[in-house]
Symmetry: C2
Subunit: 355 residues, 2 copies
Amino acid sequence: MKHNFGAGPCILPQEVFQEASQAILNFNDTGLSILEISHRSKEFEAVVAETERLVRELLAVPQGYSILFLQGGASMQFAMVPLNLLPEGGKAAYLDTGTWASKAIKEAKKVGDVAVVASSADANYNYIPKAYGIPVDAAYFHYTSNNTIFGTEIFETPISTAPLVCDMSSDILSRKINVADYGLIYAGAQKNMGPAGVTLVIVKDDLLGKTGRTLPTIFDYQPHIAAGSMYNTPPVFSIYVSMLNLRWLKSKGGVEVIEQENIIKARTLYDEIDRNPLFRGTAVPEDRSRMNVTFVMEDKVHEDAFLALAKERGLVGLKGHRSVGGFRASIYNALSITGVNALVDAMQEFEEKNK
Amino acid sequence: MKHNFGAGPCILPQEVFQEASQAILNFNDTGLSILEISHRSKEFEAVVAETERLVRELLAVPQGYSILFLQGGASMQFAMVPLNLLPEGGKAAYLDTGTWASKAIKEAKKVGDVAVVASSADANYNYIPKAYGIPVDAAYFHYTSNNTIFGTEIFETPISTAPLVCDMSSDILSRKINVADYGLIYAGAQKNMGPAGVTLVIVKDDLLGKTGRTLPTIFDYQPHIAAGSMYNTPPVFSIYVSMLNLRWLKSKGGVEVIEQENIIKARTLYDEIDRNPLFRGTAVPEDRSRMNVTFVMEDKVHEDAFLALAKERGLVGLKGHRSVGGFRASIYNALSITGVNALVDAMQEFEEKNK
Ligand SMILES: Cc1ncc(COP(=O)(O)O)c(C=O)c1O
Ligand SMILES: Cc1ncc(COP(=O)(O)O)c(C=O)c1O
Ligand SMILES: [Mg+2]
Ligand SMILES: [Mg+2]
Ligand SMILES: [Mg+2]
Ligand SMILES: [Mg+2]
């Protein structure tokens, strides 16, 4: 039994793997593999419709918002957002809280004028800047709700008169959000939604079609909306597995139930990091992420030994990103409290051994 | 036992389904699912490297060409090709042989000046135009080697001083090609290469970086090349299944062997269409596709009855595209001669019954 703490693509529920594996041999008793059916078949249209319904239900998406399943990853959204929402001659505001936020900024700058309202680059992104102003003439304000690499998370929705655009790649579906607060939400699926290969976009329809820009069709949200995410061949299997995963989340009781579990998992792990004299968290306590727990050892020389012990205990994917070092425990929805407890046990065992 | 004649996503070998199904439960004895491993893991890096090696070997790709696995489908290439290859103020030449060719033209026109050298729209694309000139100042000449919807195929590489760019989505890996004749080749994987969700691009390196255009990173071939198709999270599973399918093709003897099988399959089916007084091919005989065989009944009233009989015999995916009507039998690499014979048997059975 392994516990997979990898940052993404990442753990999904075992029952999702079981059912996906079966559908590759025989999908829905069609006698065909899910990999060989037409995306225009009624069977696959039902999959897309159910996936969309589940997103709408689990996140309580209100009327007036479209839901899209696109290719290209969250990185493609770094470009699509300004191409679709930033009018010629307009300005966009961005908050810089990490690697992904700054890549989004870099892409937006190619499209138009960008105001970076604040940045925590000065402290290797170990906190969330809080005192900043958003230019009143901004077409939108973009932020990254969870900083996968640096282990910080923004729990309070920023106050902004400009429409909010949020990269929720690594915390979507982990906690309640109020979609009506946002103009656009996007997320690469490969954390809490599904496997790699599909990206979720939730967009308020009345923001679109106002830039005056002629876009390649594939980069324009509107034709994708008009075609129900079938403008061209969608990533069939990634959408199907996302549907299975969303069904699982619903059967668990939905986002509110998983949020309580996620709070307990995160508290359990941070408590041990704080208590255990060998370990130390890297993010400031008030901005600690519930999804990606970043920590180091007070004495770096022990880090390889701890990773080795963790591996022996079946705990994998714990090596920290090179920008932070140490460890990163990604404790997404599908990583159970059992997995967290096993990690805590390993930390205590290591402490004992090194007394 | 079903025979899947669908146009794409389409049939892949049963042994590919078996192995993919297994890898979802336990990939390479890692104790992890292929869906939960990091794209930066050494295990997945080995998958990408092998997939690239197999493409290089099976298509004899020469030095000086890069191989990419991208998201977005062939439709994204309709835009990326002119964005990357058409200089500001330059001109591109296109051949219009069907729905996909004309979509490529539409996207190129958004980027720059386009000369459509010839079109067979006048006869519902049932033939390949042959007498045309390519402007000497064209930055490239784009054509579609196999017209999936209309059932025509271009077997002779056009003569052009401009670099050739070819959409090979529906006949890549079905027959020998000389990659050195091309500047760029692209193909949505979901016919002969693998499942939906990944797109193959083979590009001559020295054509790139010459347009003077600033591109969003995700639309620029060069960063994808520099990152070995890992600029951002790739479509892990679609690449993995493509690797399995390429291994299968290699184990069969490669492209030259499959080409002979494809010739026999196509001849068998067209011979029956020609012989059988109830059926008639829609494409002119000299341009008939070996991949997508389009045909109708002399008497349209029988078409539903024939489809019903075919279905009883386990022959699925035969309904023709609405632009052509009748039937389309897609006989890609993985569709065996047994499948073709079963279709011929059904045609003869129907003929008997309707004597
Ligand atoms: C917060 C965040 N945004 C964007 C990305 C980039 O996603 P993709 O690889 O799908 O382009 C990631 C990837 O981990 C991420 O964590
Ligand atoms: C020849 C050809 N080009 C392009 C496409 C579009 O591919 P995609 O759906 O991957 O964008 C298709 C789809 O069937 C095709 O057959
Ligand atoms: Mg980050
Ligand atoms: Mg401590
Ligand atoms: Mg066509
Ligand atoms: Mg006939």
